[in-house]
Symmetry: C2
Subunit: 363 residues, 2 copies
């Protein structure tokens, strides 16, 4: 009989556990949020800071706020889809949800060769909004920073008075004016929904990567120093999708490192076929030793994105045992992505007009 | 015959000339702006940086922009009236004029014991707006930062990307986040009127105190780095009214240092009678040596605020010669202020409602 294998208990998760300890975060226990959603089951969303308030609200069917965002510094790739999947999960769990497209943030915090102007940031923003709508985010749930109300901007500036130069430098290592601007906008994003004129003070959840925890801590600190009775925001942390090559981040700036949501079938096929695999040197060796799904990029995509948990688990087991070849695994991945993204892209086009209205304001 | 005396050629102006040289500013020549307004004649507005463009526009009756502002960190005093008088002068000269009440700036750049909250800053803002309206500033010429359009805030943030941490520190000696916020809002105030959606690129004039020239230079630098074709803004510099006591600034935080625009007749009388005077120890000595109008606070008020240049010149001559006693001079000043401010205060009350609408937004 085969050794019991836990596909979610990989070495990578152990690295994250070390990280969690370092940052003082807690793991999200099973069934903590009253759901067995695959994002939790597969430990894609795996850690938190002060999530008890949200868990209680979900249990008691009381309202809470969710704020998630993407900076519009390039086209969306699969890594961004994780943010959106998590957003939709918390919405299902009852969150009053808002999704911010951070266009000002994208421009002020990125170098000019990446985002040369607000015009460029807004073009990306309009594209991202269309994708969000295609994924099922509602139009009233989306806002773009540069189209916000004055009270939002006022809050960003108020936040800037509540952080000292030394505290900022201690956290970020610099006091770069553009990046400082990006930060105070992020604080406003997370906190402004608790303003009386919006939904009033209540628990809120924002999901981010672990490396963004310093932002989270400063934001929680600032929330207490502002005179609006804010409940300290809660945060949950998700794993990052890695790049398609070995030891590489999935990044919009390195073209073949990522599957973009706009990629066509031949792009997908080429990129997955060239992606780093956990297969062995020869077919014989592969059958004998089994593949290594933990480092296989095609497998990672299925693990992070395929909604059918049974299929993902079987794939893991069959690949690990050597029964499934690298070619077969890549084929499953290519078919899954091609079908999912083709359907998605058709929807995206149908939302272009309304997306432009959200990004540029109604004419 | 008496020695020719030039009341505007005082020692204080010489100090300013030294300052001008240090800052690289130019003196405003006589008749430069096609007007013999007392603010220019008396060298109250006395220096400039790049004002030629404005002088040309005035001469050719072409449009130009004026932006002036007051931070709402306390009640208005006579020193602030200078800003308003200068504003009205440039409006008469043909400027498309806007007056900003900097409420966010006031909150983020002042310590909490001075401006503890935006609520407080807005209360001051509403009061200041009522005063502006009473002085004849039109309601459509006034805006409050916290009520501005998104494009204004976007511009402030864009400006933050165009200044480096080192340049900011070199100019201000710090990178205090709240003060940085105040600065980028000031850049947006001065520049946003040149946005296409407002009046489009054209020469603009902003009048400030000489010590604010570092802001002016950074703002001019930033204007060229933004992608909106801005004309570099011009600046003119005015003298500051000094405090009522010796060697003291006129400041909202030191109560008896200033005549506030809300002061009642008994306040005015008390403060002027206690103010530092240029009179001699005894009446005999005063008659023999003459008074020193250059250091006399009652005289300074007439010089800076009394619209009748002939009266001011005669007062100077008679006081200087010893013919006019300190008591007489103070009486002229008290009567002038009492009449001016009483009338003004009645008007202010009639503008309270509309001022609140401007400061808090229409309900």
């Amino acid at each position: 009989m085969q050794k019991q294998i836990d596909p979610w208990g990989s070495d990578e998760i152990k690295i994250d556990e070390k990280l969690l300890k370092e940052f003082g975060l807690k793991e999200i226990p099973e069934n903590y949020l009253n759901t067995d959603h695959y994002l939790l089951k597969r430990k894609i969303l795996l850690a938190h800071r002060d999530l008890d308030k949200i868990a209680q609200r979900i249990k008691n069917k009381q309202p809470f706020i969710q704020l998630t965002g993407i900076a519009s510094s390039g086209p969306l790739h699969l890594g961004h889809k994780l943010d959106i999947d998590i957003f939709l999960m918390f919405r299902e769990l009852g969150a009053i949800s808002r999704f911010v497209i951070s266009d000002i943030d994208a421009f002020v915090s990125r170098p000019d060769d990446k985002v040369p102007s607000m015009k460029e940031a807004k073009k990306y923003a309009a594209d991202i909004v269309a994708h969000l709508l295609a994924f099922g985010v509602k139009k009233e749930e989306i806002y773009v920073q540069s189209q916000q109300k004055p009270s939002y901007f006022q809050l960003a500036f108020e936040a800037s008075k509540k952080i000292t130069e030394n505290a900022f430098r201690a956290t970020y290592g610099h006091v770069n004016p553009g990046k400082l601007s990006a930060n105070i906008l992020q604080y406003a994003d997370i906190l402004h929904l608790q303003l009386k004129e919006n939904f009033g003070p209540m628990p809120s959840i924002t999901c981010i990567g672990v490396e963004q925890d310093p932002h989270a801590r400063i934001c929680r600190d600032i929330s207490r120093r502002l005179p609006y009775g804010f409940v300290q925001p809660s945060f949950a942390f998700f794993v990052h999708q890695t790049g398609l090559q070995k030891d590489m981040k999935m990044s919009a700036s390195i073209k073949d490192s990522a599957i973009f949501l706009n990629d066509n079938p031949s792009d997908i096929k080429r990129k997955i076929n060239r992606a780093f695999s956990g297969g062995r040197e020869t077919i014989e060796e592969h059958k004998k030793l089994g593949g290594i799904p933990e480092v296989d990029k095609a497998y990672e995509i299925l693990q992070l994105h395929h909604p059918d948990t049974k299929l993902v688990q079987e794939t893991y087991t069959r690949y690990k045992s050597g029964e499934m070849s690298t070619g077969e695994l890549k084929k499953i991945c290519i078919e899954f992505l091609t079908e999912t993204l083709s359907k998605h892209q058709v929807k995206v086009e149908s939302f272009r007009e309304i997306a432009n209205e959200i990004a540029y304001g109604k004419k």
